[in-house]
């Protein structure tokens, strides 16, 4: 592969112009005229249209499985649609949306999504930052530590949640056994509101902290060491170097992880579904950890209201846009205050 490209590069400086299609046409015998014309036309077409051919697959698939469903979701959110007969749509206008606003379970799901989002994202990113900082030191076995903290990333939502269901078990779970052993008493991780949300968040934190730590570590290694050296020259301690050099340099990366984690938190689905066992789609017996994603699933695939499910989907999108807007504002404010 390589030699060809080198050859192409060197011949471009030498006799390349002569080999170009237009010039090549000049001194050939007349019989091949048509072929030459055809070749140069094909060449021009290639230059003109091949970029579209290269981006076409993405846009074709995206139109079919992204844009069309997106718009159709909006359309079906204005209808009464049953899962039993999805083609029999009845126009109801904005009723699905007004109904959502009066629906206590929607507000409950929104609240839960927000709370679980905060208690899973904030500690996760803070811990990831701390771990990345430690991994940035010169260490023995640093390769081992990196691989080990990334391992949870390889497990699926399903596998991870099923293990944590056992670990968080009320009567025989290992976490309650440990809490009991140190005299703190058992916690009912399934049925309490805050406790169940903490349990669900733990699964998210466990799976994603290592991944985020590596992203931070990569950004830290791109910080020029001169900055640290001049800070050290000014007598900055390790902690001061971290606060005044590392964190400011990482600001764009931190914003990136915050946005990605926010999107992830808005869509939280698998962890609460499987944490709830047989009543998973409700998010626990009293909906105590039902997220918006779960509520959509329950409305559409358990209560058969696909129209309502569509309205929930658009509401989620709206919320995501608002959150993204707030993120952007905060980022701009931070940049200005610097």
């Amino acid at each position: 592969m390589r030699p060809y490209t080198d050859q192409a590069a060197s011949s471009a400086t030498g006799d390349a112009a002569a080999a170009g299609p237009q010039q090549a046409a000049v001194e050939r015998p007349g019989g091949t005229d048509r072929r030459r014309l055809w070749r140069s036309r094909r060449y021009r077409w290639d230059i003109k249209y091949s970029p579209y051919a290269f981006v076409a697959p993405f846009f074709v698939f995206f139109a079919a499985f992204g844009v069309f469903p997106l718009l159709y979701t909006g359309w079906s959110s204005l209808h009464r649609v049953s899962l039993a007969a999805p083609n029999d749509m009845q126009w109801v206008g904005l009723r699905n949306y007004t109904r959502l606003l009066e629906d206590e379970f929607f507000w409950n799901a929104l609240r839960n999504t927000f709370t679980i989002g905060v208690i899973s994202t904030v500690p996760q990113l803070l811990m990831a930052l701390g771990i990345a900082h430690l991994l940035n030191y010169r260490l023995r076995a640093s390769g081992f530590f990196r691989v080990a903290i990334l391992t949870p990333y390889a497990t699926s939502v399903a596998a991870a949640t099923l293990v944590f269901v056992l670990l968080f078990g009320r009567d025989y779970g290992m976490i309650n056994w440990a809490l009991d052993a140190v005299g703190l008493g058992k916690v009912d991780w399934q049925s309490g509101t805050l406790s169940s949300q903490v349990a669900v968040s733990t699964i998210v934190i466990w799976r994603w902290t290592g991944y985020n730590a590596l992203i931070y570590l990569a950004a830290m290694q791109a910080v020029p060491n001169d900055l640290y050296e001049s800070a050290a020259l000014d007598g900055a301690t390790r902690w001061q170097q971290f606060i005044h050099v590392t964190v400011p340099s990482l600001r764009p990366t931190i914003l990136f992880t915050v946005v990605v984690s926010t999107i992830g938190a808005t869509q939280l689905f698998g962890e609460p579904l499987l944490f709830g066992g047989a009543s998973g789609q409700k998010g626990g017996a009293s909906h105590q950890f039902q997220t918006l994603g779960l509520y959509l699933y329950e409305q559409g695939w358990f209560n058969f209201h696909l129209g309502r499910a569509s309205a929930i989907a658009w509401a989620m999108f709206l919320i995501l846009l608002i959150v993204a807007g707030i993120n952007l504002l905060v980022a701009r404010r931070l940049r200005k205050s610097q």
């Binding site: 490209t5 995206f62 050290a232």
Partner: protein, 282 residues
């Protein structure tokens, strides 16, 4: 002086005992649930409903693996997941490289507008299209067919963005122009210049996509059933029974995770390197 200074600054600092202690705690926290999955899978349901919970392996591992294999249709599930994740990873890498190259190095009308569209689509959550996708799949009678899972996930906006960012820097424009002047067709340029230059990024993107597709949950659980499941669908069904045998559930979880865990044991460093590289580029 400089040497001394360097030793007190940034990356050149050595980690102290406390660093090792904290990292060890996090390592144990990361690995323990996985190890305990194996421990629980080697016990039986009765032993798992006792205090204290088991801390060491029992003798039921193979029996439980066998039960999970039959009860959850694990053989078929693993095969399906390999096909689905492999196809999605290949498709994503191929289409992202083509589109990424066009956005990075070629000139065409509406280029900036189209790129903006690609980036904007990264914000759209999958929930937003799941209802019509489900209707389409039902209409085409694709329920329980693998293409119902593969086709909607075959391209990725992130992939296009990622490859574009990489190729802008990694592929010298002169090289492409020189090949053009030599009369090389676009396909020749793709094959002999773009693919070799993009190979490291293609590997990273392929790996990230494969892991994500292997672990994908939301759409597969709506589009597929127990009759033709992916691993995640099979596990969900295994765990959502009313009185599940927990040791069998753990055996199933182990089976579903083992292929990726093995890849981690063998390629761990490369995977870490790939993610860190992707983080900087992306």
């Amino acid at each position: 002086m400089t040497k001394l200074l360097r030793a007190r600054a940034g990356r050149h600092l050595h980690g102290g005992p406390l660093t090792y202690a904290v990292l060890t705690v996090f390592t144990v926290g990361s690995l323990f649930p996985l190890v305990w999955t194996a421990i629980a899978a080697s016990r039986n349901n009765t032993r798992l409903s006792q205090t204290p919970p088991p801390f060491w392996f029992g003798g039921n591992l193979f029996k439980n693996l066998q039960t999970a294999w039959t009860d959850a249709n694990m053989g078929l599930a693993l095969l399906n997941t390999a096909v689905v994740a492999g196809t999605i990873a290949l498709g994503t890498v191929l289409f992202s490289t083509l589109a990424g190259f066009a956005f990075a190095k070629l000139r065409f009308r509406f280029k900036n507008l189209l790129m903006l569209l690609v980036v904007a689509t990264m914000m759209v959550p999958p929930q937003l299209s799941v209802v019509p996708l489900f209707m389409t799949v039902a209409e085409l009678e694709w329920t329980d067919q693998l293409q119902a899972v593969i086709l909607p996930t075959l391209v990725s906006a992130f992939g296009v963005f990622f490859m574009r960012q990489y190729l802008v820097q990694a592929l010298p424009s002169e090289l492409v122009e020189a090949a053009r002047v030599d009369g090389a067709s676009s396909l020749r340029i793709i094959w002999h210049i773009v693919f070799p230059a993009a190979r490291p990024a293609m590997a990273v993107l392929g790996m990230l996509t494969f892991v994500a597709a292997w672990n994908d949950f939301f759409w597969p659980i709506i589009a597929l059933t127990q009759d033709n499941p992916t691993v995640q669908v099979a596990l969900a069904n295994l765990g959502q029974g009313f009185v599940p045998d927990q040791s069998v559930v753990m055996a199933g979880a182990l089976l579903g995770t083992l292929p990726l865990l093995l890849a981690f044991v063998i390629f761990g460093r490369q995977i870490v390197g790939g993610i860190m590289q992707g983080a900087v580029k992306g």
